[in-house]
Subunit: 295 residues, 3 copies
């Protein structure tokens, strides 16, 4: 019933990790949730979402003549998208969208809804031109929307002991090595794929982390936003390879299916601003992490 | 008369290299062959292959309502695509296609034909929705089909002597250096491009390899599936730079031209599963080589 | 009034740098200039440039049946595009276009105009099928044309003192460090983004460079084609990290908007020839720089 094709992030755990976890850590949950309502709306669409092929029209022209770019998001998750102290939209996504609107020579209009079911419904109804909410381009979602290339990386890293810890995936992919990961998560399935010769142990997230700190496991595969605060509190563990990603999902902009001209404009915009270091620089500045290049 | 734009792989040579050469080494030949029949069918097509632009229809919708994904391939080349001991389709491509069909919530139907002329004819006639047969996206073929981004890398590497061998393309690109490559092959033309200051010597494949083992040449540029078994039998040669690719061609999925929605869905699927390490992990596990990122 | 969204390259400065500056250094200016005439033509277009969506036709078919590929460029800027001593089109772009025409089995017809306003007007009027003039895919231009992926990198690098100079962006991003860049240029804005903790000083280009040579600044962010001749004349400065790009813009082919089949063919052509080392090899051979991979 849902286009979420992996488990929600464990929001309760985040609280247990304490105040060093930024509110951004809640982002994943929202970004992955997608209600059945939006999907149902799509599957009863008479044109399968391919709204523009017949006429050759594109939202790109509509936006320019309208003079406004309508974007739907959920202003709940700093530093990516939230309300500043004056109640105005702020964050990494908003900064990018202001650049985009400026390049289109139009005003930016942010439509704020609490979840991705609402975000996707807003795109499908035409209320919004695009959704910018860290939505990962999963296969299930891409039956509903068309996605641009990634504008925000969400990376998975490996935590190892500071003393004697492994240096590479190959070091860990050995018989007898123990790798922990959140049970039933994509990290768990990915760990099985990356470490077929090792023993991959599904655990609750806090156990998965603590087993490395207490020497019960050799490594834990985990998203970087959870790894960072844990390491800050446990000096005997570190990121393997200085935190190099072993897997990355990307948040992408989503638009209605079939609008080739709008898709190409947005894709070109992201490519241009990625290569010229603009987007990686903004990501580093606001999110605090190094950019990861999409494939 | 053919869409093969480089010489077929030397299948006879493969036999001379002995039993350590897997049957996969034959793959290249099949993947590169494309009969004149398929091309002729295309060039007489009234719509130039652009079957969907007028109506906005997409095979993506047809596949979902049909409940079956029809894929044409040639089940002759393990470990990429072959029949298992029970006669069922198996291999790297089949594993990916099962994931794809699962994401589309449809059944996978494999259509097995012996060569790429048949594979391409199956796509053009509508018998198959896509071809998954390690087809390289050559310019000639892309006049006939539309290709996704690569899902399987075929890499060219350099063989050098273990003792005193070069460490880089720059080391080899010096006056007086001798580089061998299969005569009239893309490897030969690529060697001329990569080593303009060196002497590039076209030879039969076995001579090209043996000249490095016997000290007559400084290096040989060759596809990795041929290099690996030769090195296994000749301990005085090795892969330069631990086998880092100096050039890579990618096998891609091919579909009928003009179906933007189907193309974008497949392209997004491959991008998502490449970034998140799923496809690179499956490639490493089944093919035994490290993934190479497409541009 | 112009689709140039960053300042023109300082052509006057180039003269002051002396004869070691190749005429190619003028390329940037032409590549970035785009007259208001072309834009006006576009904005009054009744179909927004989306010339093919309604009928499903593609220039790809027209070119094949016509037997000629019409390309507009400005033959003024060696080594990228110029007239050889016999007055014939020559250079990196021309070499690529000859390969492209050969793959399409058609003749190459070069249309030579002095500036990009003319180049873009030629594409929009249908006189040319594509523009190959190092045109960067800026957001403003991509409202007028559709761009392929990049076929020619233009990179920005950092100049540092030979003795005691910084080794990385992080080394330079420290309070008290002084970074120079051409005032009001993209390099200046990029420097502010890359070095938020340092002091970024906008100067005339020659001052920006000389301040590093005279020890007044720690680094200068600059395009590599300007850096190379300056370093040749000032032995106490060098490229940081052997000239690794800190930002890259790419010259792209431009076509009329909405022609999905032509766009996909060209994009596939560049991807295929990039991965297989053909384009990077030609770039190294003719331009003399290492290839930079687009995102």
């Amino acid at each position: 019933m849902s286009v979420a094709d992996k488990p929600e992030k464990p929001e309760r755990l985040l609280k247990s990790l304490g105040s060093s976890v930024s509110r951004r850590s809640l982002l994943g949950g929202a970004a992955l949730a997608l209600g059945g309502a939006a999907l149902a709306a799509c599957s009863t669409s008479t044109n399968g979402g391919n709204v523009n092929a017949a006429t050759g029209d594109s939202l790109l022209k509509t936006i320019q003549s309208r003079g406004t770019l309508n974007v739907t998001t959920s202003l709940l998750y700093p530093p990516e998208f939230y309300k500043d102290t004056n109640g105005k939209p702020a964050g990494y996504d908003i900064d990018l969208l202001n650049m985009l609107a400026s390049d289109l020579k139009v005003k930016l209009n942010i439509i704020d809804v609490p979840d991705n079911a609402g975000n996707i419904a807003n795109v499908q109804s035409g209320k919004a031109d695009l959704v910018s909410a860290g939505l990962v381009n999963t296969p299930a979602r891409s039956l509903v929307l068309n996605f641009t290339r990634g504008y925000v990386p969400y990376t998975q890293v490996v935590i190892v002991p500071v003393s004697g810890g492994a240096n590479s995936v190959n070091d860990l992919n050995q018989a007898g090595k123990k790798i922990t990961a959140l049970q039933a998560s994509t990290a768990f399935f990915r760990a099985q794929l990356l470490f077929p010769k090792a023993t991959v142990i599904p655990l609750a997230q806090d156990e998965a982390l603590l087993d490395v700190a207490t020497g019960k496991a050799d490594a834990c595969l985990i998203e970087i936003y959870l790894a960072t605060p844990f390491i800050a509190q446990h000096s005997n563990v570190k990121l393997m390879n200085n935190g190099q990603a072993v897997a990355t999902e990307f948040g992408c902009w989503g638009i209605n299916a079939g609008d080739y001209l709008f898709w190409l404009y947005l894709n070109n915009w992201i490519a241009y601003n990625t290569d010229n270091a603009q987007i990686p620089g903004m990501y580093k500045k606001t999110i605090g992490l190094d950019w990861v290049q999409p494939s």
